[in-house]
Amino acid sequence: MDTFLIDGQSVTFEPGENILQAALEADIQIPHFCYHAALGSLGACRLCAVEINPKDSDKNARVVMACLEPAQKGLEVSLSAAAAQQVRRHVIELLMINHPHDCPICDEGGECHLQEMTVACGPSYRRYRGNKRTFPNQDLGPLIHHEMNRCITCYRCTRFYQDYALGNDLGAMRLRNEVYFGRFQDGPLENPFAGNLVEICPTGVFTDAVFRQHFARTWDLKTAPSICPHCSVGCNTLPGARDGTLRRVRNRAHQELNRWFICDRGRYGHQYSEHNTRPLSPRVSGINTDYRSALAAAARKIQAAAERTGGIGSVREDLEGNVMLRSLLNDLKGIFTAFNDPELEAATLTAVSRMQELDNTPHLAALEQIDAALITGDLTVHAPMIDLALRQAWRNGAKLAMLHSSVAPLTQFASTAATVAPREIHDMLTQLYRQISRQPETNDAVTQTIKTIAATLSQARQPLMAGVVETSTAQDIIALAELAKAFEPAAQLIYVLPGPNAYGAALLSAAGDTVSLLKAVERGEVQTLIVAGSDPFSEPRSGARWRVARQKINTLIVLDCIATATAEAADILIPVAAWPERSGTFVNYEGRAQGFSTVFHRPEYLPSTADIISEISRLLENQLCDAASMLQDSFPGFQAPTPGTPGVQISAQHLPIRNNELMQTEPYSSDNGWQAALTSWLGDEPLAGFSPALTELAPPDTALINPESAARASLKSGSSVRLWNSVYSVETCVQINPSVANETIAIPRSMLVRLGIGHGDSLNLEQLV
């Protein structure tokens, strides 16, 4: 590789790199503001001044911007040259003309890039004698606080927001020394990645409004590497705690995953751990007690039930908790499942097995390089950072084709998008398969959409198939995998799984156990049910069945860190540590196992799920080995990765799933009425649902219907309707939305739960007058 010199030190560079990039990679800190590795060079702040001495040329030494000057072999660069230092000092002096001297009370204190640069380059004293220019601030909603007087006009915010995250409600207004970064009018920022402004801004203009409510000086925060528990992507995070409470979450760079960013759910969802309903004390029959008594009570009940014990693990429970619970039930000869809905189990297991079979599931950085994708469902909500990676692919020219039943923000960037009712997705994928493999059946009326998508995928160098497990059936998942196979070996396949450790949960589950357990409970064959980190009562499709079946259970033991409906109904409730309060392992959608560490301890004693189960096993006089050796048994050779490392691919054998095993689930009821579709939003996730800052932004609960279907049923926006299934009904009002498929009613999760139905189930509608 070629090299150049910075103050005598040799620096290597790749062709096309500029001086600043090469220097930063070599860990030589050239001062800068507007340059950012994700955003590239702009040349606006003019801080990265260096002097260059072009070799073999009669040109004089001159001061240039390192971020705009291509690195060249043999170039002599000086950071320390007096001329360059003077420019940097002037730039800082100019930026500080209007900057308030509010450092003592500034939220950015301790991690202020401006302060660091000022100390490194700037004059220590002020020469400017005039007044400072001041700005009013805007109300940008509950997540981000705005303090425009601190702005140094580096344009990082709008470049991130508009160019990178593709948002359009934050912009640069006005000109001269009055450039103002804000919205057209006050209001919450709409982009699901807006929270990154907090980190991308080199000073304190955009700060974390949630952190502000319970602020701590940043150098007083306890931090340790963690993994985001809010979806299956597994972004790396750095939570910060103080005095036994969690204050904030920031991104921790992972070059293959989230790079420098995280989504707003990841950043603000953590408020669940401080929610006032959070169980912090064990409870037996509604009475607070201590751990010793609660665990003893639990052990007694389990002992009494003996083989009539069941266990539900969770897709948001770590590998350690799930494997311990499974082992306990193994010993007790009871049924264990990590899922609380048979169809979700089938879909997840199928998805994992297909990804293992195809063995070509890209990480986020690779996703940015794809040139075409077929996406079914809403990635923005179910895996926000996959959406952000695909936005980069789109910027690089990738063509995105989308099939969706309800609102899906990524359609803004789709070259082809079609709304398809949930139950018709399968048919659509099958037709697409036939079109691609050139075997259309004569009775296929091949639509233009199918032709266009087929052409897009066929012309691609590396087409991606991406599906969302939560809104797919096992059959849909197989159909998407078949499509990917048609493009082997080029095609990549991603399924977004229903939780941060859904992959791990799938590896520990056996197909069909969820339905067996549910039926056993319904038949009264389970006396004691242990539920760890799961909320079966709030499951859309089977929640109603679980709630009814609960009557047949003697003792419901719940281990959780949030007050779910199931936890509220528990006979014995055992609070557990929230994620940043314990260590463990999650397996993300790629099968990448990643460790997270204990960031801090709350004042209350809060053990992990694995610890509690271990203790119960001890009380049962059948002490389980520790989680690590249990995992070794399940995954030979597996070593839980150290937190802070990039993680390891889990080397499980392929899941032993055959198609016929998956078909045990009940088919959709098939009358000719409406179909229900899940419509979701960013905060719609069990943990984040306890984050007030996020839930404040929840859209109103309405039934979304597309204009055509609404017209046919004589419905208008605002019409009151009653929706019912066989047993339950809800009243709500209609909102017209063209992103919804024909004959489909898109409703939020809470309504599905109340109706006891899932995505794709039949639904009746009656207009109320």
């Binding site: 003019r46 003077q86 002037h90 400017y128 006009t153």
Partner: protein, 427 residues
Amino acid sequence: MEAILTRHLDQDNPQNLAAYQATGGYRSLNTAFDLKPEKIIETVEAANLRGRGGAGFSCGMKWRLRGADAPSPRYLVCNLDESEPGTFKDRYLLYGAPHAIIESVIVSAFALQAERAFIFVRGEYAKGGHRLIQAIREAETAGLLGRNLGGSGFDLHIDVHLSGGRYICGEETAQINAIEGKRPNPRPKIPRPSTHGLWGQPTTTNNVETLVNVPHILMNGAEWFRRLGINGGCGTKLFCISGKVKHPGVFELPCGTPARELIYKHAGGLDNDERTLLGFLPGGASTPFLLPQHLDVPMDFDPVAEAGSRLGTGSLIILDDTTCPIETVLNLTRFFARESCGFCTPCRDGLPYLVQILNAIATGNGSADDLALLDELCSTIATQSFCAFAPGAVMPLVSSLKDFHEHYEQHIITQRCPFDASRKEAV
């Protein structure tokens, strides 16, 4: 001298298509269509036609360097944003001879094989812009624009873009952003607009006055054009003269005409014969001052540069000995601070700083260190800004620190403006 730029000019009653054609208008089209585009470019380069928008770059060379093989679509932008204080020559062309502009855009677009041209008109010239649009409609109806125009096999569409108003929109890359509907910040110098201009396609920008020369060069040849100039200059130039002179106005004169002749002969000398000349800006607001000793410098690019200034837009702003030079520099600097696009730090925050210091000096609140501070700040602003706006902005200031050093000192020492008395008398 032969008037070429002002030949068809009539401010009150500009020629319509018929009148323009009757007096020889649009004849260069046929000459052009008979030639190969490369040949036209060669001729323009041989004529040594230098850009009239401020920088004085060779027009023919710019066209040649864009390359005949530049990918389609290719664009031509005619810059009629004229907002440089002291400059008003393009207004004369716009209001006085819209068809001359259209003719030169057609011929130039043909030379560059550009299929779409924009005429970027400053918003304050909206009335003229509307006249120009009417003239374009006339030309379209007559088949002089559009598909296969004039039977040449060449297609051209001309759009008039009326600016929302800002001095920076005159800068070529900011103008490209403005036309595209983006915020008119300048773009990086690399890649160049000649290869990556409007919508990423090859784009050539020229000042309107530059282009209006082209038909005449084609009709009469390079040699003829070169000989129009004197004292080494080539062609004629629309000189604007304003400030403290008797007859401010636009004068078409040979390139190389000495300043003395422009000021004392054509503009009628100073307002008040009892006054003496203090100095003048030779090329608009963003050029260094020249002093009475420079009166015999030929007003052409190289000689003015040798004298330490720039010909710029060829707009002379005259100061007499009742004009406070500090006040003048303050006004200019305030103008630039106000018009800074706000993109880069030295310009955005440096110019208001300069204004603050100058204002203190001008109002008798200056301090002894201020002059060194001004000089020091200007060194960074002039060399390290993102575009050419800020370097131009500080030129008069930097030169005034030398040329009017005593005036500055006097303000600082006496803590007042010595011109206060005469200013009152002016009202």
